[in-house]
């Protein structure tokens, strides 16, 4: 089985790169791992002795989540096609901002989500815009940017699986997820 997973070293190239970029560039992590071999039988052609048709099957490692945050609401919902944080979520922002400022070691991922309609990549960008709005709001309340990362899942990880307007509304959401 030839499914060895190799993360080749490109961080060195990143670090050595010039200053062409107008924004600071973070170094990509370097890992070296061996993948869990996928059961034989999923690679039928290899068993058949394929040459040009060979495809190596690789198992990606699972996501690992660090500890949960304090027991305060950690989701903010948005209207259709909107990135504006409604005033009803001010207490949510205040509570999370207070915790983050009192716990400088804490770090949150602000995970933007969208409803199921439209292009996957465009929804990824929409979710990012929502997450970025929450990040900027927390920043205005005094949270250090280094304690936050705004990311997007777009429509890829829906919490509500139906196709009703209530389901869509549930998925137009930013979750504040504590990572440490």
């Amino acid at each position: 089985m030839r499914s060895t997973l190799v993360f080749t070293a490109l961080a060195a190239a990143l670090a050595l790169g010039g200053c062409a970029s107008p924004v600071p560039v973070k170094q990509a992590p370097v890992e070296s791992k061996t993948a869990t071999p996928v059961e034989s039988g999923t690679a039928g052609a290899n068993a058949n002795g394929a040459g040009q048709n060979q495809v190596a099957a690789v198992q990606a490692p699972s996501e690992s989540n660090a500890g949960p945050g304090p027991n305060v609401p950690k989701s903010i919902y948005f209207a259709f096609n909107s990135y504006t944080i409604e005033s009803q979520y001010t207490p949510v922002l205040n509570a999370n901002a207070t915790y983050l400022m009192q716990h400088p070691q804490a770090h949150v991922q602000l995970q933007g989500n969208t409803d199921a309609r439209g292009s996957r990549e465009y929804n990824l960008a929409l979710g990012q815009k929502r997450a970025d709005a929450v990040m900027k709001a927390l920043e205005l309340l005094g949270v250090k940017p280094s304690q936050m990362e705004a990311i997007s899942f777009g429509k890829e990880k829906p919490k509500a699986l139906g196709d009703t307007e209530a389901d869509y509304a549930e998925n137009r959401r930013v979750d504040i997820v504590y990572q440490r």
């Binding site: 060895t4 997973l5 190799v6 993360f7 080749t8 490109l10 190239a13 990143l14 790169g17 062409a20 970029s21 107008p22 924004v23 560039v25 973070k26 990509a28 992590p29 999923t42 690679a43 039928g44 052609a45 068993a47 058949n48 002795g49 394929a50 040459g51 040009q52 048709n53 060979q54 495809v55 190596a56 099957a57 690789v58 198992q59 990606a60 490692p61 699972s62 996501e63 690992s64 989540n65 991922q109 439209g118 292009s119 996957r120 990549e121 465009y122 990824l124 960008a125 990012q128 815009k129 970025d132 990362e149 705004a150 990311i151 997007s152 899942f153 777009g154 890829e156 699986l161 196709d163």
Partner: protein, 438 residues
């Protein structure tokens, strides 16, 4: 090539119309995993009547070579395919021109499959022009058992090119994402007919946006395996993979430049989704242009001089073009309030894209010279179009959540096929390039 062809509605039509072909049926080759069910509808404006005889092959040959060739040609919609009445015809002939003309055939092919050294198989085939009574040549291919289907597709490509004048795409491959459960995602590679699907990557977390390198050796894609969108590039043959974009925020929408040296990606280093260019081997990203909007879904023009992309700079998402120095932004789509997911034809003259009309996300194309648009699929939830390397077919996803399938449509909208897998959602297709061995 001047040929007399049967027109739409001729006696040849029933052969193709509504034909349902179960791909990947090999008597001895037990399917390694779920196979695609392929349904074909429609036929080309003209169809070439061609006979593919029964090849002389031993019972233990794992793949029905002539059957795969017939299915390929039928699925294209451009041929009315017969099996010469079930008669065996090898590459040795003899060509029976009189009988073939009596059946109104324009061409006929025969072949054989023979065991060769080291577990390989020798596939020989020859094509004859029944009208001109001429030998159109053939192929002799020695392959491993796992490449028997590829050999059959090469025969189909040979016939397609000789009879239509266009290069075929049967021997190329497609990549796509499958979801078989909430935590069961895979990046897959299959033959262009959906047969022989193989896992390139399996993950518990979502995968999206696969994009082939121009040499067909690598796939770039977005993986959520680390807990957020990160862009990887993976060597298809070895499985070696590298994180090329894992910056703060989200990393997505990879696209290779035509020379393979540059990767366009979307990063969120400034908060907004913006397009960057970076070496495809990894390295420092360079922001292409600064906008105060969402800029995403970049794809290179075939000349490598510009990018098409999606932006909401004028309100809703529309498709734009920009030169590689970040200047000269030009809006391409004006009709409708939501136009996304551009795919460029290999000749650079046409874009396929998704347009929202009411509650439907439809597949459209636009002629970049005349700006004329054409509706290719009015289905409710089309996505992620991709051109075949000969520009004749668009591959895309269709159907809503829970029932996602892959579809193809010829660029004239006449010939359609649906590739579905029971219980598996298939999406985000990307048609691979021609390569020296395909």
């Amino acid at each position: 090539m001047q040929r007399r062809r049967f027109v739409l509605g001729s006696l040849a039509a029933p052969l193709a119309r509504g034909a349902s072909v179960l791909a990947g049926v090999g008597v001895l080759a037990a399917p390694a995993r779920a196979q695609f069910k392929v349904d074909v509808s429609g036929i080309g404006a003209t169809q070439i009547p061609v006979g593919i005889g029964v090849f002389r092959d031993p019972d233990n040959c794992p793949q029905p070579i002539a059957g795969i060739v017939r299915a390929d040609l039928t699925r294209s919609g451009l041929f009315a395919v017969s099996n010469l009445g079930g008669q065996t015809l090898t590459e040795q002939g003899p060509p029976n021109y009189a009988a073939w003309r009596a059946q109104n055939l324009e061409a006929a092919a025969g072949g054989s499959v023979t065991p060769a050294a080291s577990g390989r198989w020798l596939i020989e085939f020859r094509l004859w022009d029944a009208v001109k009574q001429a030998d159109l040549g053939g192929l002799a291919l020695t392959v491993l058992p796992g490449d028997l289907r590829l050999a059959a597709h090469k025969i189909s490509d040979y016939i397609y090119q000789k009879l239509t004048g266009q290069r075929g795409v049967f021997a190329t491959r497609i990549a796509y994402i499958s979801k078989a459960g909430p935590h069961n995602f895979a990046l897959n590679i299959a033959d262009s007919d959906g047969a022989n699907p193989q896992y390139a990557l399996r993950s518990r977390e979502p995968l999206l946006s696969p994009a082939w390198s121009p040499n067909g050796q690598e796939l770039a894609y977005v993986s959520f395996e680390t807990g957020k969108p990160v862009v990887f590039v993976q060597n298809v043959r070895s499985g070696a993979r590298r994180m090329v974009a894992n910056f703060k925020g989200s990393n997505s929408a990879p696209a290779f430049s035509p020379d393979g040296g540059t990767l366009a990606v979307v990063l969120t280093l400034t908060g907004r989704s913006q397009i960057y260019l970076m070496p495809s081997s990894g390295g420092t990203p360079r922001q292409l242009m600064r906008s105060y909007s969402i800029d995403t879904e970049p794809v290179f023009s075939p000349d490598g001089q510009s990018l098409y992309f999606v932006s909401d700079r004028d309100g809703g998402p529309q498709i734009y073009k920009v030169t590689l120095d970040g200047s000269g932004v030009q809006r391409i789509t004006y009709t409708g309030g939501y136009n996304v997911s551009p795919a460029v034809s290999p000749d650079g003259k046409t874009l396929a894209y998704i347009s929202q009309q009411g509650n439907s996300y439809q597949l459209w194309s636009i002629n970049l010279a005349s700006n004329a648009t054409q509706l290719l699929d009015d289905g409710s939830d089309c996505g992620h179009p991709s051109f075949a390397p000969n520009g004749q077919i668009v591959l895309y996803s269709a159907g809503g959540r829970g029932s996602e399938v892959l579809k193809t449509v010829s660029i004239d909208g006449r010939v359609r096929s649906t590739l579905s897998q029971a219980g598996v959602q298939v999406r985000e297709p990307s048609w691979g390039p021609w390569t020296p061995d395909r």
